[in-house]
């Protein structure tokens, strides 16, 4: 893989990738016996997510536990309670957005991990950028900076909207936080003298993280299960429904927003504690 044998390297890379490709594509056109990936998905009957959609996971697991006989047939014969938009109140999980109900309720633990990944990688960036000399910031034109000042509040508002409505519409804490961070990035890139105190951001960020974990542990205390929803769920589809999810999504939004802002700033000017 030296400079001279570069083309051979490319050629072999192509061959390697081709072989890997043939191997990886083959299961999709498998005609042999056994279960294989279906060319066309008709419904969610075989998947756990059916019960997420129907919001009857507790019933399903109760049914499996009580049912005698084959494990799979038990899972299929679960009774269905109809969950209807704007009618059902106090469903198993609050959000009308089924993805949100998975992200923050059924599989909330994944999301905690996700927050942690982001936190740890921004921490890693901060550690790497410690002592890195700040690049000189160019003064941008007046139009850009004025435009940015006009845009930033709107961007912030949009970000906040996104995470507050995460349980109803597409969106949530992560996109919302990212949008907020975009606002800060815009300020950075356009006005040369703009800076913020990263310590404050970090405090906000870690406080949000602490509260999220504390809320999760509260679930352990009140409902005997980590991340259990111990607040009431309102009517499905209302803005004031599924309170815990709104709180957590807001915290995530704040956390991700400040985190990404700090991370971007670090890459830009190097990390220093001020």
């Amino acid at each position: 893989m030296r400079e001279t044998s570069f083309n051979t390297g490319k050629f072999f890379a192509l061959i390697i990738v081709a072989v890997l490709g043939i191997f990886m594509i083959s299961p999709f056109f498998d005609t042999g016996s056994g279960k294989k990936i279906s060319p066309r998905l008709e419904n969610l009957k075989d998947r756990v997510s059916l019960h997420y959609g129907l919001k009857n996971v507790n019933d399903a697991s109760k049914n499996i536990e009580e049912c005698q006989g084959d494990y799979y047939t038990c899972r299929e014969g679960v009774k269905c309670n109809n969950v209807i938009y704007k009618e059902t109140a106090d469903a198993e999980t609050g959000p009308a957005n089924l993805v949100t109900s998975i992200v923050l309720d059924y599989r909330a633990f994944d999301t905690l991990g996700e927050i942690t990944v982001l936190f740890i990688s921004i921490l890693g960036v901060a550690l790497l950028m410690t002592g890195f000399p700040a690049l000189p910031v160019k003064n941008e034109s007046m139009i850009q900076s004025a435009g940015a000042k006009f845009l930033v509040p709107i961007i912030m508002l949009v970000g906040i909207y996104i995470f507050l409505h995460g349980h109803l519409t597409p969106g949530g804490g992560f996109p919302g936080g990212a949008v907020i961070a975009t606002g800060f990035l815009l300020m950075f890139m356009t006005s040369g003298d703009y800076n913020f105190r990263s310590r404050r951001f970090k405090t906000v960020e870690t406080a949000a993280g602490t509260i999220i974990v504390a809320l999760a542990i509260a679930g352990l205390i009140f409902k005997d299960s980590f991340f259990a929803n111990f607040l009431p769920n309102g009517r499905l589809g209302d803005l004031f429904s599924s309170f815990l999810i709104v709180i957590i999504y807001s915290l995530i939004g704040i956390k991700v927003g400040s985190e990404l802002s700090v991370g971007l700033r670090n890459l830009y000017t190097g990390e220093k504690d001020d």
């Binding site: 893989m1 390297g9 390697i16 990738v17 072989v19 890997l20 191997f23």
Partner: protein
């Protein structure tokens, strides 16, 4: 009892580490005391055949690790003699190590080594044997090379070969274990015999693994290079332990495991190829022993360093013993065991006297020494008796065992083997007397004018060893009668022997008579020496250079020493024949490994992209492999 005495010894060793360096001798006195008590303990076990002890260790998976000790005639004889010899060596070491700088750890390891030594001989199953075998190998590394750069290079050959051998043995043990589900030696021998009938190649493989393990340790043919390196670079007093005792483990293992197996085969097997009434395998091993002895003799003749010479001589003697053991006759096995013990005694004596010489002169090259006989008479006498025994000259113990070896070879109709053993035995005269002459006789260099005899405490072990050589020489039955009980316990025919007389198929020897004859002739020669013309002392340079100053020709005193290149003509005789240098083979192997290693290292520190490249390539290779075997 056995185990607790071991623990006691280990504890002493551990505690002794805290003794300050200035009080070295206290530590060594402690070690001698421990060794003395161990010797006494083993002595009391004489006759307690079948006494066993077991101690359970961890059991992981299917293997129940436990330590099992058992006293048998074979193990008793070996452990008693080796412990007694190490006691005498440690007496020697008390004074010798008094002013050694890097001594602190040697004694500590040495005591552990002595424990391992006894445990190897007393172990009742293969796993215990292996455990102490490996411990002994590891520990001996530190004794041979106690932080000396030069001896580190020397110990490498020993260490690598021993470890490879030990691992081969391990594989053999566990192949057998997977068949027999026990580590017990007798049942494993029986199992291996059964396997010979059922699946002969596999059985041969297993036996070969054991042979590798034993032969690397005892430095037989392809592995014969390590003693010359390790024995010569080890601490001087330890060389005697190494050469006298440690090199015997392989032969002990052979007697313990291989000989009963081959005897079994030669008695009962219908399927195995036989040659000369013994299994072909065994015959080959006997040949290996004979070839080893011949090769070692030639190499000993060539060496100029007195410790190397003694080391090669050890290899030669191991060769005789191996040959004798593997011809499987009662006489042969008895002769082999007898020779092992005799060799332990006289080689300890030789190395101790060399250590004494080095203690006073700090010199190893023979051509820089000479004429020490008058300065160090006791050392001289020890060395003299040692080489007389080593060369197999009648009144001393070496004669008795060599006689038995010749007798067994001849009566078993192995003419070629016998010729080779004769040849190397003759070679032994060549190099041993050269050593005697160049170190102790001849001209004393002026720088050694104020050399004194070693302190009395160091002389004690020499007296003991001399006494042993003479006593066993006169009364071979002291050793041979226990050897007879070994043969009995191995279900072999006993040899005919009394305290003083040995009988074979062809002839018999009455040792006291032989001793008297030789003592008489010595006395006669001594009288001649006394009444003869008084000798005049001539300086070396006066003798050779006719009064001229050799420095004018760029020559030094050493170059005139007759010991320098003494056997050069003899070496020239073999110049025509192609020489295979085993050491070079091992060295080139090492170089190859290092080259590969550098290549691998280069890959590891190459760019991240090659890492990804190789990663993907390997995945693809696995895929292709999968397609191929599909």
């Amino acid at each position: 009892m056995i185990l607790y005495s071991f623990l006691f010894a280990l504890l002493t060793a551990l505690l002794s580490l805290f003794i300050r360096r200035e009080y070295n001798y206290i530590r060594w006195i402690l070690y001698s005391a421990v060794l003395a008590s161990l010797t006494f303990l083993i002595y009391t076990m004489n006759g307690l055949w079948g006494y066993s002890e077991s101690f359970k260790l961890l059991s992981v998976g299917s293997v129940d690790f436990s330590l099992n000790f058992k006293v048998t005639p074979l193990s008793w004889l070996f452990s008693f003699f080796t412990t007694g010899l190490s006691l005498s060596i440690s007496l020697f070491s008390i004074v010798k190590n008094r002013h050694e700088e890097s001594e602190r750890s040697i004694g500590f390891f040495w005591l552990i080594l002595s424990v391992c030594n006894i445990a190897i001989f007393l172990s009742a199953d293969l796993l215990t044997l292996f455990i102490f075998w490996e411990a002994m190998t590891f520990v001996s590394f530190f004794v041979i090379s106690p932080g000396w750069t030069k001896s580190f290079k020397a110990v490498n050959y020993y260490f690598i070969l021993s470890i490879l051998g030990a691992f081969a043995m391990l594989v053999g043990i566990f192949f057998l274990y997977s068949k027999s589900a026990t580590f017990n030696i007798e049942s494993n021998i029986a199992q291996l015999f059964v396997l010979y009938e059922l699946n002969s190649p596999q059985a041969i493989f297993i036996t070969l693994m054991f042979v590798l393990g034993f032969f690397t340790k005892s430095a037989l043919m392809p592995f014969h290079i390590w003693p010359a390196e390790a024995h010569s670079e080890a601490p001087d007093d330890f060389s005697s332990y190494l050469s006298g005792i440690m090199i015997k483990y392989g032969l002990y293992g052979s007697i313990l495991f291989l000989v009963p197996l081959f005897v079994f085969i030669s008695k009962f097997s219908q399927t195995q190829p036989m040659s000369n009434h013994i299994p072909l395998f065994s015959h080959i091993l006997a040949w290996v022993g004979a070839i080893t002895s011949v090769v070692a003799t030639f190499l000993a003749v060539k060496s100029n360093d007195m410790k190397r010479l003694a080391a090669w001589s050890t290899v030669g003697n191991i060769g005789y013993a191996a040959t004798s053991i593997f011809i499987l006759s009662s006489m042969g096995v008895a002769g082999g065991i007898f020779h092992i013990i005799n060799h332990a005694i006289f080689k300890t004596a030789i190395f101790l006297s060399l250590a004494a010489v080095k203690y006073r002169t700090h010199e190893r090259e023979m051509h820089r020494l000479g004429g020490l006989a008058y300065k160090m008479p006791v050392t001289f006498l020890t060395f003299l008796l040692g080489i007389i025994a080593a060369a197999g000259i009648p009144p001393l113990n070496g004669y008795a065992s060599k006689w038995m070896i010749y007798q067994s070879l001849l009566s078993g109709r192995f003419p070629f083997l016998a010729t080779m053993i004769f040849l190397s035995s003759t070679g032994a005269f060549m190099y041993l007397f050269r050593a005697l002459h160049s170190v102790f006789l001849g001209q004393l260099p002026s720088k050694f004018d104020d050399v004194k005899e070693v302190p009395f405490l160091m002389q004690i072990p020499m007296y003991i060893l001399m006494l042993l050589m003479v006593i066993i020489g006169i009364f071979p039955g002291t050793v041979l009668l226990p050897v007879n009980s070994i043969l009995k316990s191995m279900n072999m025919e006993e040899i005919k022997v009394t305290y003083t007389t040995m009988y074979s198929m062809l002839s018999s020897v009455d040792a006291p008579i032989v001793f008297l004859v030789f003592a008489g002739s010595f006395a006669f020669a001594f009288i001649l020496y006394l009444i003869g013309k008084p000798r005049r002392h001539v300086e070396l340079l006066d003798n050779y250079t006719a009064g001229q100053d050799p420095k004018e020709f760029g020559l030094t005193r050493e170059m005139y020493h007759f010991a320098l290149k003494f056997y050069e003509p003899f070496e020239h005789m073999f110049d025509k024949y192609p020489r295979t240098n085993t050491k070079e083979f091992y060295d080139s192997f090492e170089r190859k490994i290092n080259e590969t290693g550098s290549f691998i290292k280069k890959f590891y520190s190459s760019s991240p992209r090659s890492a990804v490249y190789i990663f993907t390539l390997s995945i693809v290779l696995i895929i292709i492999y999968g397609w191929l075997v599909w």
